[in-house]
């Protein structure tokens, strides 16, 4: 008897499988049997992995900020962060805290000079792309020169000690 799945190899194994909503016994070759079992195994692995990911959540909660080492329990206890990076590390916990503390959810107001330069640079770069796409080459040349000027005069990224370059 030929395998009921590949219809090529000799059927040697009986497996149970759902076909059109009914459980049927199929006679299949060893490789198709393995493949069918593999599907099951894969989905089981996925299920197990999924469970493991869920189970690992509390474990992940224990992780500390990679920059300053402040642990999650310590952050919860103090309700204060250890460094600027903590705002990313503990973003999930910080979101409801910030909602309670402030009516607004994004900064409006003064911006550091360095930030303004980088914002200008990204604005110019996107304007340059648009100009090239629209074949406005004269505009593009002007924009290109302005970006070059920024690179020439813009601030050097600060060293790690928080001091900006002079």
């Amino acid at each position: 008897m030929k395998c009921e799945l590949c219809k090529q190899q000799k059927a040697e194994v009986a497996i149970k499988q759902m076909v059109d909503g009914e459980e049927r016994e199929l006679f299949v070759c060893p490789s198709c049997a393995q493949r069918a079992a593999g599907t099951l195994v894969t989905s089981l692995v996925e299920m197990l992995l999924g469970a493991a990911i869920d189970l690992q959540l509390p474990e992940r909660d224990l992780l500390a900020c990679p920059e300053c080492g402040l642990s999650r329990p310590e952050f919860r206890k103090r309700a204060r962060v250890g460094c600027a990076r903590c705002y990313e590390t503990f973003a999930r916990e910080l979101a409801p805290m910030l909602r309670d503390m402030h009516s607004g959810d994004h900064h409006v107001g003064k911006t550091p000079a360095r930030e303004r330069v980088s914002r200008t640079r990204s604005d110019l770069e996107s304007a340059l792309k648009n100009a090239i796409r629209a074949q406005r080459y004269e505009d593009a040349a002007v924009l290109r020169d302005r970006i070059r000027n920024l690179h020439a005069t813009g601030p050097v990224p600060p060293p790690e000690d928080g001091h900006a370059a002079p």
Binding site: S103, G104, H106, A113, E115, D161, G162
Partner: protein
């Protein structure tokens, strides 16, 4: 030395500007941190010292702080810390910190930058009355210079990043100190304080909590720092404080018109007790001086000015008393010295008419 001269000098005049002396003084504070460094509470002492040693000399010379002095608060004795605290130059938090924390302060004490308090840097500017815009302009200028020198911890979404999430965004805390004895005497103070809290403003008694705060001095400040720009935050606060000043003004006028005896009794008792008492605790003294301040402003007391009352209000506090005598005193001994000082300063003051 700065601290000695500060203790001896009479307080800078916090004279009112069109507010009838009800708004005593105002303050703007900006919290700033540096990218890539642990915030002070999480850094170790060596890290705090390194930051202080590098930042303080630069601030003293380059930040536009006039006649700046460096004060290493973490290395000072208790009495000197108390003195700085009483002059509102440092927070209670900074007063309790160890080495590596300190202050750079201008010669006139209007401008100061606290280093390694809760945040790496906190600029504060104090002005008389309620000229918060003036205080903001000065703080903004110092901040702009610091911005050129240091790489601030900043996120485009959350603004300036601070140790406590309640300060993120602008990092701005603006406050006005108001004297509200009139509302206390007309029993209208509690509803006013409750209304302020509903507006998401913070109200704190300068000499204690609640409507019985010693001296009836209250600091009103913005609670939120994220979502509005600095000028809007200041304008909103000023609008509300303006209302409070107006209500205090009305309360005083009502007292004068309807129950002048109540106000006069309050002032007269205060003066009589000060001129006779031999033992005086700080809180009791603050209450009597508060009554005299109202009395002078309402024209009920002669041979005394608001500036003198304010100077005495500062001078009778523990740190200032000890500095004046050059020695550490037991609280009970301080109460005797305080009573004597008050009798001397107010010897010539008398009720009007």
């Amino acid at each position: 030395m700065l601290l000695r001269s500060a203790a001896n000098a009479s307080r800078r005049t916090l004279s009112p500007r069109g507010t009838g002396g009800i708004a005593v003084s105002c303050r703007v504070r900006l919290a700033r941190n540096l990218r890539g460094l642990k915030f002070p509470d999480w850094a170790d002492e060596a890290e705090r010292r390194r930051l202080f040693d590098r930042v303080a000399p630069w601030l003293a010379q380059e930040a536009g702080i006039d006649r700046a002095r460096i004060v290493p608060v973490g290395e000072l004795d208790e009495a000197t810390r108390a003195l700085l605290r009483e002059r509102h130059l440092i927070s209670r938090d900074l007063a309790e910190r160890g080495p590596g924390s300190g202050l750079v302060v201008s010669g006139d004490e209007r401008v100061a930058v606290m280093i390694n308090e809760e945040d790496h840097l906190r600029v504060q500017v104090i002005e008389p009355g309620m000229d918060l815009h003036c205080a903001w302009d000065v703080a903004d200028a110092v901040d702009a210079r610091m911005d050129q020198q240091f790489d601030y911890a900043f996120s485009p979404k959350l603004g300036f990043l601070t140790a406590c999430p309640s300060n993120v965004g602008t990092g701005l805390r603006a406050s006005v100190m108001v004297h509200l004895l009139g509302l206390r005497l007309t029993n209208d103070l509690d509803p006013v304080l409750r209304a302020l809290e509903r507006l998401r403003l913070t109200v704190r008694g300068v000499g204690g909590e609640g409507s019985d705060a010693a001296g009836h001095m209250f600091q009103i400040s913005n609670q939120e720092t994220l979502g509005e720009d600095e000028t809007t935050l200041i304008d909103d606060l000023l609008e509300t404080v303006g209302d409070v000043v107006h209500q205090e003004c009305n309360a005083r006028l009502r007292l004068q018109r309807d129950t002048p005896e109540v106000m006069m009794d309050c002032v007269a008792r205060a003066l009589a007790i000060i001129q006779s008492a031999r033992i005086m605790e700080t809180e009791e003294a603050l209450d009597y001086l508060s009554a005299l301040r109202l009395g002078v402003e309402m024209g009920l007391v002669r041979r005394l000015t608001v500036a003198e009352v304010d100077a005495l209000t500062l001078g009778i506090q523990p740190g200032h008393l000890q500095r004046r005598l050059g020695t550490i005193l037991e609280p009970s001994r301080r109460d005797i010295v305080r009573a004597k000082l008050m009798r001397e300063v107010l010897a010539n003051a008398m009720l009007q008419g």
